[in-house]
Subunit: 180 residues, 2 copies
């Protein structure tokens, strides 16, 4: 059984997933629409989320843990298990990487559909030619600087357009498949 790795992420039109300090105000203030932009449907197909430490700490800051029914793996070489809040101890798995070891672990845990979240983790999976699909939701704003969605994988990566939806909110969402 091959694991399917996908990402689902919002970016400013100029390619940032957060301001340099991690702030998402521009995203949260981008629309008053209650449309979830396909998020619930996407999440229904996911059994495991892999995120980096920055994303984990951002999500922790949201208050209530948003993934009570998912296996969540936090990729970090610096976090220690006792830094995880007690109510999340049985929901989170810390993994130090690198990716081949992570893959082995995900396979052993029976993961099938993995949501790869956060800029640096997405970049790592792209560079390692592991990401199978990415859904980019483009917010109609330029924020000028911040944490970039994409980095430099060191080689061109061609994607295959799968689907584009323009929402009433002005968000434009495109899903690409990546063949390796």
């Amino acid at each position: 059984m091959t694991i399917h790795f996908s990402a689902y992420i919002a970016t400013s039109l100029d390619g940032f997933i957060a301001r340099s300090n991690g702030d998402l105000d521009w995203l949260f203030n981008a629309t008053t629409s209650t449309d979830d932009h396909g998020y619930a449907e996407y999440m229904n197909g996911i059994d495991t989320i892999v995120m980096g430490r920055n994303t984990y700490q951002t999500v922790l800051g949201f208050g209530e843990w948003p993934y009570p029914e998912k296996r969540v793996v936090v990729l970090s070489t610096t976090l220690s298990a006792d830094a995880i809040p007690s109510h999340l101890q049985d929901k989170l798995l810390l993994h130090p990487g690198p990716l081949p070891q992570l893959l082995k672990s995900l396979t052993e845990h029976g993961c099938n559909n993995v949501y790869v979240d956060g800029g640096s983790v997405i970049q790592s999976f792209l560079a390692a030619r592991l990401l199978d699909q990415i859904t980019v939701t483009t917010i109609p704003i330029l924020i000028g600087s911040g944490i970039p969605l994409f980095g430099n994988p060191g080689h061109d990566i061609r994607l295959a357009h799968h689907k584009t939806t323009a929402f009433d909110s002005g968000f434009v969402q495109t899903t690409y498949q990546i063949s390796h």
Copy 2:
């Protein structure tokens, strides 16, 4: 009469309009489709093109001058009039900028619908809150590094989604309006 400034530009999914050396191979090789992706329709509404020196020199390199029926203004402080090939002398206007002086000149020349071309000129018009519309055609490829479409205007710029088209080529084209 207010001048309407618009841009129509292709970018890699990671936000580059050319490789660092100006190369557009990734764009020219992106599709075998003969669809012009709305270019002719867009150009029909344009009377004047403003471009920077880099874009001018790239276009010169294409061979035949592609804009025989348009007024073309090349923004440059370094090019001199005698550097312009003789067959283009009556088609090109050199202007040293800055933007307020350029605006005055465009008004005096009776320009109405101006195509703002090239990364740095688009960035200047955005930062100066002069650009009214931008059509971004996203090519399904990550090239990792290059000349960025957007820079840092120093302030957030909100855009209004106007129209999105996903082409058979896999190109996704979105037009935004910018109100100031």
